[in-house]
Structures are given as C-alpha cells and as structure tokens.
Symmetry: C2
Subunit: 248 residues, 2 copies
C-alpha cells in the first residue's frame, strides 16, 4: 500500500522518506537542521493556546497530542503524534496558537527555529511542498474524525481510531506483525472521540467480546483486521499514504 520505510536514524528524514524520495542534498540539509533538545514527562504541555512560538516542535521519541479546552472541564483532542511529526508546524504561518500541544508519554522533542525552517525552504524548493502536504494530510485526518464524531456511533468511532493509529504506526515502521505500542488511557481515547471515559469503556468491552483485537492501554494487537475495518468504516485513502512521484 505504501513505500517501505527506511531506517534512517533521524526521525524527520525517516518520516519524509516514507513519503517522497529525498535527494542526498535534501537529506543532508534536514539532518543539519539544528534544534534545542528536551526531555519531557508524560502529560506536559509543550505549547499552549495563545502562545506565539518562534520555533516548531519535532517529536524525536514518544507520543504527543494536540487539544483544546472548551470551558475548563471539557477537552477535545485533535490528533496524536509520533516521532518524525512536527505537530505545530502551522505556527510558521499562523502567529498565535489556537490550540495546545502536550506529551502523551514521556518524550524527547527538538525545537527548531522558524528561521531555520524558512532558510531550509528557500534553499531546497521542493521541501515546502512536502511539508505543506503534511499539513494537508493533518487536515484530511481532521475531516475523517469529524465524520466519526458527527455520524458514527461509539463502537464504530473506536474501531476507526484503532485502525488509523495502527496504519500510521505501520507506515513509519513502528508496528511488528499485527502488534503496535499504543499507550493511551480510555479517558484520553474519550477526549479524542468526543465520548465520556465510561462510555469508551463500555463500547470497548463490547468490541473486545468479539475478539477482533486485544488492547490493554499499552499495546494493540489486531487479530481480525477486515472485520475491525468494517465496523469502523475504515478506508485508509484519507491518509494519502501513496508515495509521491520520484524526484526528477
């Protein structure tokens, strides 16, 4: 379905190579991007709604997620991010953050100055298009989540999310066979799906009784992909995983 992942040690290079053939100059330029590195615990905000960042955050290890609060009790999560992602890349064109970014697990992240990215883009004119495309895929995933929250019931939403996360992990080489690491609490799943944790629990138990997958909050193993995809109405087209045409 998609190109084989490479094993480049740089997460950003690895991610982009899963999408497009980089020239060696582009690869070198990406590896040369300088950033300040930080280790964070789980559940820490990286950037907050209202901030005006001058740098963007590259996930090097661990998971992050984006969210926004409605009032001070209701949280809506928009996306989960894995190594190689730059979840707040949008801050290079939108001055003020309209949402927050936080770590889901303990994580290592790098902060890249916007200035460095602009330089990278002007020197390597194919790259802005590649990153633009990444933000368009983000938006495609948002649309699919909207379909879920607007038009699918809880079990279907859960099945869909599990399929999506599995495919994304697999596409960057983080899944083995039918198993992938997935350290997400039911409360967090609920905040991503627009459900209460109680209802996530009940729907999850109902799904579990069908033996389609096992999931204990740490590891996801999918036993019957086709059936799960059917329940979740999952069609991966919106992830746009087909690689781009080769570099000229």
């Amino acid at each position: 379905m998609h190109r084989p992942y490479t094993t480049d040690p740089h997460p950003l290079v690895r991610k982009l190579e899963s999408i497009v053939d980089l020239t060696s100059e582009e690869r070198d330029a990406l590896r040369a991007l300088s950033f300040m590195q930080r280790e964070l615990n789980a559940g820490q905000d990286i950037v907050r709604e209202g901030d005006r960042p001058s740098q963007a955050c590259l996930i090097l290890e661990g998971w992050a997620f984006r969210y926004k609060m409605a009032g001070d009790d209701r949280r809506q999560i928009f996306s989960f991010h894995i190594p190689g992602d730059i979840p707040d890349l949008l801050s290079i064109h939108l001055n003020t953050m309209d949402h927050s970014l936080a770590t889901l697990t303990a994580a290592r992240v790098g902060f890249i100055q916007h200035r460095s990215l602009h330089e990278l883009f002007s020197r390597h004119p194919r790259l802005p298009g590649v990153f633009w495309r990444e933000t368009l895929i983000d938006a495609a995933i948002f649309r699919e989540w909207m379909v879920g929250m607007g038009r699918r019931k809880a079990p279907s939403r859960i099945a869909h999310l599990l399929c999506e996360l599995y495919v994304k992990l697999e596409s960057v080489g983080l899944a083995n066979g039918h198993t992938a690491p997935l350290r997400i609490s039911q409360e967090t799943l609920g905040d991503a799906l627009g459900l209460s944790s109680v209802h996530v629990n009940r729907a999850l138990m109902a799904l579990r009784s069908k033996n389609l997958f096992t999931f204990d909050g740490r590891t996801l193993t999918i036993h019957k992909w086709d059936r799960l995809a059917e329940i979740g109405e999952f069609d991966p087209a919106y992830l746009h995983l087909e690689p781009l045409a080769r570099a000229a």
Copy 2:
C-alpha cells in the same frame, strides 16, 4: 479586529487582500490567472471523492460546501465556502480527493489548472505561503468544529456556527450592519453540525425564543452578538483574521 476589505472586482484578489498587502505585481498576476468559468445550479457536485483533479475550483459567486458520505445515508459537511475561496486547493498536493465539493446555492465557479498555480507560485514566491496559510486556517476551523461536535451540545453548536459564518462574511464585506445572507436549510445545518434536522429545528426554535437573532433559512440578523457568542463559546481567534505584516 481585521483589516478593511477592498472592493477589487476579482474575488480572489479581494479575499487575499483581506489577509495580506499584495504588491501590484502580485495583484496583476492573480488577475491574469486564466480559468474556465461555469454556472452551476444549487446542489450540484463540483468534485467527487475519488477524483484526481488537474484543476482547482475558485468560487466566483454563490456558496459551496465540502462533505463526505458515511455509508450512503449519513452525510458530514466540513466547511462552507464563499466567493474568493478555493475549497479544493489541497488537490495541488494530494492526488486523490478524499471528499466531495458541491454547490450550496446556484453558483459561478472558475477552474484553474494546477499548472497555472504552480507557475504563479514560482514567479511570486510570497504567494505559496499565503495559500498555505489559507489551508492552515481551514484546518483550524475543522478543529473548532471538532470541539463543537465532540464537546458542545446542540444549541451551543448552532450558536457557534452562526457566529462563525457571520464573522467570515463580514471579513470579506458580505455582511451589512448586523445582517448577512445565509441560505442554508436546517437539514444542511444538521449535516454540518452532526445533528438530525429534527433536532436542529428544536434547538433553533429554543434559541429563537431568546430573541438573539433572526434566521429564516435565507438571511441571518444578529441582535445580541455578545449573548450569542457566549452561548456558542465563540472566540474568533481560531479564524486568524489579523492581517499579516506588510510586504517589505
């Protein structure tokens, strides 16, 4: 809150000038963009999920919306579009449409070849960033709709959408005083909000009884903005209406 709109006859120039100061060269290049023009009735698909367009659609007159079907009965609408918008601009970087675009009202649209856009971008290096930014704002609106569908109740969602549409119309000069044209059926509102038309009707009636606004499916007049914004938890920050810095 945002810059005064210009009255340039070209909808695309008018839209972009509401965001950024264009140089006269940029303006001329935009006006010179060639496109095939078409008149469409209300409720016609312009591009469909699965298509691989070689052109992008500029709305010249009337309204359009983007949507996706779940099964063949449930429809989810993602966005509404007005003159100056290029709702499927994403097709320049994503080969296959993951959703459809249709007219809401009778409309006049222009189809711009992707090739022309690429040429425009390479000749006017500030423009890709401006268009990229537009697609990032699209995504910001998707996020806000996710908050609504996941975490707000029907009356709040409706109030929020009315506020959003009013502000967007005002920002391009399509609202007069407190009144704006808004030709949307309750069924369509429901498909955008993740609600049944029956429930939209009831929630709308309940809101109407508060005399915050009048809306008859054609025209929206807002009487008590503050109160409506409060009910909808509407904070326009996510629309990123502040103009960009002036051209150097």
